[in-house]
């Protein structure tokens, strides 16, 4: 925790039902916490909503965050909630500008925990260049929630040259992945109760807006689609693309970057990295003519060293993703039926 931002001195050290009542306790909590840390000219009005002007094409996105454990190597639910929505907007080709922030807190949550989450939210907002302009806090009885749930909704201006649309995907397009696969999911899993194992991994949660906007500056309409493979992982996103665009996708396993430690953990747990969640990663479907230049610029990015062209859109096998395995076999990469479950032996 940042020593310059000590936990505010309040009459309580944990959240209780009164903090969600809308009365004095609520405003005490918000004044000491949310407004102090996240204040700006719009939020400070403390009105029921924020009033502002947007011109031109605008994107909007919402996401709700539940994660266990709340704190993990490389991040916590706070920065996840900011980066998640910032990134969803970036996938629309938009620069996130304003966010709403909604909390569902469970009675008994320690104030220090809440404070630490708020500090991460503040840092994530600064890193991404976004402002929280409206919000809400509710408290539920102990046992009715898992400490903290967060919802963020974001709004942002779409890049002038962005033309991101599933209908623009065509056979021949190249598919790129911005970095190594499955880091976030494996980090979280390694810290869950019952599954603890030692890794030096940390989550890849980070804002993607700057790199995406820089790529849009250069490649504009050549970028046909952007997606972030969060829940369900890369396989799910590619299947959605194949089905929604009515095209086939050819993948090359040997070109998909997976760190050794991640792939080792997947081996051990019996998981397929293709289905493991990511946070600070994106898939780009781009015009074949500019794929190499796109890759070069992506690799210049501080997190893009292992970015690669992992596949191609094809007219063959419509609506299916087919991967050439490292040993040269071919197999269908399907949607998962449910959650990936660790196997027995």
């Amino acid at each position: 925790m940042n020593l310059s931002c000590p936990v505010p001195k309040l009459d309580f050290d944990s959240i209780h039902l009164g903090h969600g009542s809308g009365g004095l306790l609520t405003s005490q909590l918000l004044d000491a916490g949310v407004f102090t840390l996240l204040g700006n000219e719009l939020l400070d009005k403390k009105h029921d909503g924020a009033v502002f002007t947007m011109n031109g094409r605008t994107a909007m996105s919402t996401d709700t965050f539940v994660v266990s454990p709340l704190f993990f190597e490389g991040g916590n639910i706070g920065d996840l909630a900011i980066n998640g929505t910032v990134n969803d907007l970036a996938m629309c080709g938009a620069a996130a500008q304003y966010l709403s922030l909604g909390f569902v807190l469970e009675e008994g949550l320690k104030l220090t925990t809440f404070w630490e989450i708020l500090l991460s939210i503040k840092a994530a907002c600064e890193a991404a260049g976004v402002k929280i302009i409206t919000g809400d806090t509710k408290v539920v009885e102990r046992g009715k929630g898992d400490q903290v749930f967060i919802n963020t909704t974001g709004i942002g201006k779409v890049h002038a040259r962005a033309n991101i649309d599933i209908d623009r995907i065509k056979p021949g397009d190249k598919i790129l992945l911005s970095g190594p696969l499955a880091r976030h999911g494996i980090t979280i899993m390694s810290q869950r109760q019952g599954l603890q194992f030692e890794t030096s991994l940390s989550s890849d949660t980070r804002p993607l807006n700057k790199i995406v906007l820089a790529l849009l500056d250069h490649f504009g309409e050549g970028i046909h689609l952007l997606r972030d493979p969060t829940r369900g992982g890369l396989a799910t996103v590619l299947n959605e693309i194949a089905k929604d665009a009515g095209v086939g996708i050819d993948l090359s396993q040997k070109n998909i970057p997976v760190e050794e430690e991640v792939s080792g953990a997947c081996e051990m747990l019996g998981l397929d990295p293709l289905y493991v969640a990511n946070e600070g990663l994106f898939v780009a479907v781009v015009d074949a003519a500019m794929a190499d230049a796109f890759l070069q610029q992506l690799r210049q990015w501080e997190h893009g060293a292992t970015a690669n062209i992992i596949g191609e859109v094809t007219q063959e096998h419509a609506r299916q993703v087919i991967m050439k395995s490292t040993i040269g076999g071919r197999r269908v990469v399907n949607m998962l039926a449910g959650e990936q479950l660790p196997r027995i032996c």
Partner: protein, 363 residues
Amino acid sequence: MKYISEFRSPEIVEALLKEIRQTAKGDWHIMEVCGGQTHSLVKNGLLNMLPSNIQMIHGPGCPVCVTPVNLIDKAVYLAFERGVILCSFGDMIRVPGSGMSLLEAKSKGADVRILYSPLEAVKIARENPEREVVFFAVGFETTAPANALSVLHAHREGLKNYSILTSHVLVPPAMEAIMKDEDCRVDAFLAAGHVCAIMGVDEYYPLVEKYKLPIVVTGFEPVDLLEGVLMTVKQLEGHEFKLENQYTRVVEAKGNRSAIAVIDEIFEVTDREWRGIGNIPLSGYAVKENYRDYDAHKKFRIDTREAHEDPTCLSGEVMKGKIKPAQCPNFGTRCTPVKPLGAPMVSSEGACAAYYHFNIQHV
């Protein structure tokens, strides 16, 4: 990765395939016993790379698939009705019981926890002295040592609130049951490498002698599997039958003696019901009488009605290698991973799930 990448080398795979193509003259049906091997064959696309006269038959070596419905009902009952902390390996919890799966029980409020190790369950028992903790001890010889060890640990610590619900199964009796079946099409076996890593290979000599067919102890990587296939094909073409060990980097002839000692301390061999296959004599482990306090079967009076499987599920035929998953009329229609009729459609090692997941429609 050291010790892995060389077993996934495209060049070695190609060389082995070439040799298999050159060696295999006849039509051969080779059963890979273990579900992990099935999964690897499918995941790596090996089934399509083998010549068409080599047919792989997918064996019963998926512990989740052969755990009887009745036992899942018992686990659900313990978790749901008796309020125990029911700990289980992950892929067990989605398998349908006659009423519900453990996953459904969990969603309705039962305390079901997914663990990687039964020793974790002992820890939970230690931390929750007021609650009963039951570990659902399923698996082949591979998981038996850890499950036995958990009982030993609980015993040494004097924990009174820990027990295991066993449904341990043994590989060699299942292979024999398959051989005895009149419709058996199996010409040779790839024995399960990890089971042999624990138990050694001696149990297989009598099978080789009695049924006069090749058995090759085989690993799980693409190169392992193809090497195993090549070794069996060479024997078959040379009219030989012997026990060979492809997986020498892991399997020693005598197995893992300390693991076997722990198994012998806690378990005794017993008859066992296999889901989809039926009763096989002396094919499982039960907790020995002097550790009965740790046997959930004896500790709790478990009241569940005799459960019956869906009669239209052909998983038994699949596991005996009589049909391929896609030949089942319910495959992908009435039976999918979302709404499975039988366990092989659920477990990641089940043949039906592997075929469904990787979209193998041909037979």
